[in-house]
C-alpha cells in the first residue's frame, strides 16, 4: 500500500464523531431553550418551546445515527479519507483560511482585491506549477474585472486595503 493510500480515519470513526457532534449540538439547543423557558407561558408558547423540541429531535436522530455507526459492520472499516486526499484538501483549505484572514484583520488587512490576487497566484504556482508569465496576467485580469464589476458597475463596495487607498478609492 502506498503512503498516500493509507486511511487517516475509518468511516466508522468519522460517523461516530459526526453523530456525537450532532448529539452535543442538540443537547446545547435543548439546554439553552430550557433556560429561556420551553413551556407554555401565560401568553402562549415561550421562546424556547419550538427550539426545545428541535433539539430533542436532533438528540434522538443522532442517537440513532450513533447506533447505526456502531452496527456498520465491515463497511465501517473503510477509509473515511486517505492521506493523499486529506493532503490535497488541506493544501486548498489552509491557504483559503490565510486568504480570508488577509482580506481584513485589525493588523494588516489587504482588502479583498490584493488578497485575491495573491491567493490565485499562490494556487497557480503551488498546485498548478505555472510561472509568472501566466500567473501575472490571470491574477491581474481576474482582480481588475471584479473591481470594475463590484466597485464601478454594481456599486457594491467590498473590503479595500492600503493599495486601493493609495489609488484614491476608499
Amino acid at each position: 500500500m502506498e503512503e498516500g493510500d493509507k486511511a487517516v480515519t475509518s468511516l466508522r470513526a468519522a460517523e461516530v464523531v459526526m453523530a456525537g457532534l450532532f448529539l452535543v449540538f442538540g443537547a446545547v439547543v435543548m439546554w439553552d431553550s430550557q433556560r429561556l423557558g420551553a413551556a407554555w407561558g401565560s401568553d402562549g408558547p415561550q421562546a424556547g418551546y419550538f427550539p426545545f423540541y428541535i433539539g430533542l429531535f436532533i438528540v434522538i436522530a443522532s442517537g440513532a445515527n450513533l447506533l447505526q455507526a456502531f452496527r456498520m459492520g465491515e463497511k465501517g472499516a473503510h477509509a473515511f479519507v486517505k492521506r493523499g486526499e486529506l493532503r490535497m484538501v488541506l493544501a486548498v483549505l489552509f491557504p483559503t483560511v490565510v486568504y480570508v484572514a488577509l482580506i481584513a484583520n485589525p493588523w494588516f488587512g489587504l482588502g479583498i482585491y490584493v488578497a485575491s490576487a495573491l491567493y490565485i497566484a499562490w494556487f497557480m504556482w503551488r498546485l498548478g506549477g505555472y510561472g509568472p508569465v501566466k500567473i501575472v496576467p490571470v491574477c491581474l485580469g481576474v482582480v481588475i474585472f471584479f473591481f470594475l464589476m463590484f466597485e464601478i458597475w454594481f456599486k457594491v463596495p467590498l473590503p479595500k486595503g492600503p493599495l486601493e487607498a493609495a489609488l484614491g478609492f476608499s
Binding site: 446545547v28 431553550s33 421562546a47 419550538f50 428541535i54 436522530a61 473515511f80 483559503t96 490571470v138 457594491v156
Partner: protein
C-alpha cells in the same frame, strides 16, 4: 381563460428589451455556473442575489431581478448536461442519470447527438412544467387563500416529512440535518418575545445565520474540497455541434415521444414534492429502461437514455417553483434561494402574491417560457465555448471560484464574519457529502424555519396549546395525515412488501 389574459400581460412585461437582455445574460451565466465545478444553481443564485438588491428597488425591478435569477437557474439546469455528457462529471445531482447514456454516446463520437437530445428534451420537460404552472398555480393559489396558520404549518410539515420519506439515504441523517437547519434558523432574536436565543453572548450571532452563507459554503466550498480530493485532472471529449447534427437528432427525437410524455409526468409530479429533481431523473431513466423495447441496450449509449432523465429533471426543476410561488414552500434548494430573494425584495411568497403582485407573478411565468427558449438557443449555439471553459486547468478555475464564493458571502451583509462562516459551512459540507448527510433539507429548514415556527405558534395559540388543531378540520387533517403517511412511508412500504412475501411463501 383568465390565465391566458394574465399570461399575455406577463409577456408584455417580460418582453421589454431590458428583461430580454437579462434573460440572455442570466442563461449564459447560468450555463457557465452549471458547467463549473463548485458552482451550481443554488449557490450561483445565492452569490448573485446581493447584486439585485439595488435593481429590485426600482419600480418593476423585482420582476427584472427574478427574471435574471430564474434564468440563471434554467441555465444551470441546461449546463449540468454538458459536463455529464462530455466529461462524465455530473454538474448537478440530477444530471447523474444523464451520464449513464450520455457519456458512452460522446465516447462513440456522438456527443453532438447526445447534447442536442439532452437540450431539446430539457426544453420540452421545462415547457410542460411551465404549462402546468400557468394553469394550475392560480387554482392552487386561490385555494390556498383559505389557509390559516394550521394549514400552512401542515404544508411545511408535509414538505419536511416528504424529505424524510423520499430520502434515498438514512432517514435519521436526513432528520438530523433538517433539524440542525431549524436550530440554526432559531439563532438570534426571537421575533415574538424579543429574547435572544442560542447566541451565548456572541454579538455576531444576534442577526442569526443567513441561509445564503450556508448555501455558498455547503454547496460551493464543500464541492470544491470534494473535487480537489481526487486531484486536479479533468479529461473530456471534444464537443462539436453543427446544425446538421442538430437537425438529424431532431428528426430522431419524435420517435421517443412516449418517453418524453412519461418523463415529463414523472418530473412534474416529483418536482412539486421537495427534493424531487434527482429522484425524478433516476425514476424516469429506470422507467424508460423497463418500458423501452431495447431496454437492455441502455447504458451503452442510447439517445433515449438521455431523453428520459433530462426531460424529467428539467420538468421537476421547473415545477419546483409551483409550490414556491403558490404556497411559499420551495421544492428545491435553488427554489429556496429564489424564495429568499423574494423575501429580501419585500415580497411575501404565498397565495397573496397572485392577487397583490400580479405583474410580478405573470412576468415571471412568461419569462419562464421565453427563458427556456433563450436557453435552448444559447446552449445549442455556444456548446464549444462552454466546453472550452472546462479545459481551463482546475488550478486556475478553483481559486477563482473560491474568490467568487468569498465575495458572494461578503456582499450578503457586508460582513467578514459571514466569510468565515462560509468556510465553516464549507468544511461541514465536505464532511456531510462524505458521510451522506443530505444538505438540501438543512438549507430548506434554514429558509423556512422562522416561517414554520411562526405558523406553529399562531396555530397553537389559537387552540390554547392543543396539538389536535392540526387535525381540527378535513383540510388541515388531510394535509397533516398525508405528511405523517409520507414520513412513515419507508416503514409502511417495507412492512407491506414483507407481508406480501410472507403471503407468497
Amino acid at each position: 381563460m383568465q390565465e391566458i389574459q394574465s399570461l399575455i400581460g406577463g409577456f408584455a412585461i417580460a418582453m421589454s428589451w431590458f428583461n430580454l437582455a437579462l434573460m440572455f445574460a442570466g442563461v449564459t451565466l447560468g450555463v457557465l455556473i452549471g458547467v463549473l465545478p463548485g458552482l451550481g444553481g443554488a449557490n450561483g443564485v445565492a452569490i448573485l442575489l446581493p447584486l439585485t438588491f439595488t435593481m429590485a428597488q426600482q419600480p418593476g425591478g423585482a420582476t427584472s431581478a427574478i427574471i435574471l435569477l430564474s434564468c440563471i437557474y434554467w441555465g444551470a439546469l441546461f449546463g449540468g448536461a454538458i459536463t455529464s455528457i462530455l466529461f462524465n462529471i455530473p454538474g448537478e445531482p440530477w444530471s447523474v442519470a444523464t451520464t449513464f447514456d450520455g457519456y458512452p454516446l460522446s465516447q462513440q463520437g456522438r456527443a453532438g447527438a447526445a447534447l442536442t437530445a439532452a437540450f431539446t428534451s430539457s426544453f420540452i420537460g421545462a415547457l410542460v412544467a411551465v404549462l402546468l404552472i400557468t394553469f394550475i398555480s392560480p387554482i392552487i393559489a386561490r385555494f390556498a387563500l383559505k389557509f390559516g396558520p394550521p394549514e400552512f404549518f401542515a404544508v411545511y410539515l408535509l414538505t419536511f416529512c416528504a424529505f424524510v420519506g423520499m430520502a434515498k439515504g438514512a432517514a435519521f441523517k436526513t432528520i438530523a440535518a433538517m433539524m440542525a437547519g431549524f436550530a440554526l434558523a432559531a439563532v438570534g432574536i426571537d421575533t415574538v418575545t424579543g429574547q435572544l436565543r442560542l447566541t451565548f453572548g456572541f454579538m455576531e450571532l444576534l442577526k442569526g445565520f443567513d441561509f445564503l452563507i450556508a448555501v455558498i459554503g455547503l454547496f460551493g466550498i464543500g464541492e470544491i474540497l470534494l473535487t480537489i480530493e481526487e486531484g486536479l485532472e479533468f479529461r473530456g471529449a471534444k464537443a462539436r455541434l453543427n446544425m446538421k447534427v442538430v437537425l438529424e437528432t431532431w428528426k430522431e427525437l419524435p420517435r421517443y415521444w412516449r418517453t418524453s410524455v412519461r418523463s415529463s409526468a414523472v418530473g412534474c409530479l416529483m418536482g412539486i414534492v421537495p427534493g424531487g429533481a434527482t429522484p425524478a431523473s433516476f425514476m424516469a431513466y429506470g422507467l424508460a429502461k423497463r418500458v423501452s423495447k431495447d431496454g437492455e441496450q441502455f447504458g451503452n449509449g442510447k439517445v433515449e437514455g438521455v431523453v428520459a432523465p433530462e426531460t424529467a429533471a428539467h420538468a421537476a426543476g421547473t415545477s419546483a417553483l409551483l409550490p414556491m410561488l403558490t404556497l411559499g414552500v420551495p421544492g428545491s434548494p435553488t427554489a429556496a434561494v429564489l424564495l429568499g430573494g423574494l423575501l429580501i425584495w419585500g415580497l411575501q411568497p404565498g397565495p397573496l402574491l397572485f392577487t397583490e403582485q400580479k405583474d410580478f407573478v405573470w412576468g415571471l411565468i412568461a419569462s419562464m417560457y421565453l427563458g427556456n427558449i433563450v436557453g435552448l438557443i444559447v446552449v445549442l449555439t455556444c456548446v464549444p465555448l462552454f466546453a472550452s471553459i472546462l479545459r481551463v486547468p482546475f488550478s486556475i478555475i478553483a481559486p477563482v471560484i473560491l474568490v467568487i464564493c468569498a465575495i458572494g458571502a461578503y456582499t450578503v451583509h457586508s460582513s467578514m464574519f459571514d466569510v468565515w462562516l462560509m468556510l465553516v459551512f464549507g468544511v461541514l459540507g465536505y464532511v456531510f457529502k462524505k458521510l451522506n448527510y443530505p444538505m438540501a433539507p438543512l438549507v430548506l429548514a434554514l429558509v423556512l424555519g422562522d416561517r414554520a415556527e411562526d405558523s406553529f405558534r399562531q396555530s397553537v395559540l389559537g387552540s390554547q396549546g392543543d396539538l389536535l388543531v392540526f387535525f381540527s378540520n378535513p383540510l388541515v387533517g388531510t394535509i397533516t395525515g398525508a405528511a405523517l403517511l409520507l414520513l412513515f412511508w419507508p416503514l409502511l412500504s417495507g412492512g407491506w412488501s414483507a407481508l406480501r412475501k410472507r403471503a407468497a411463501t
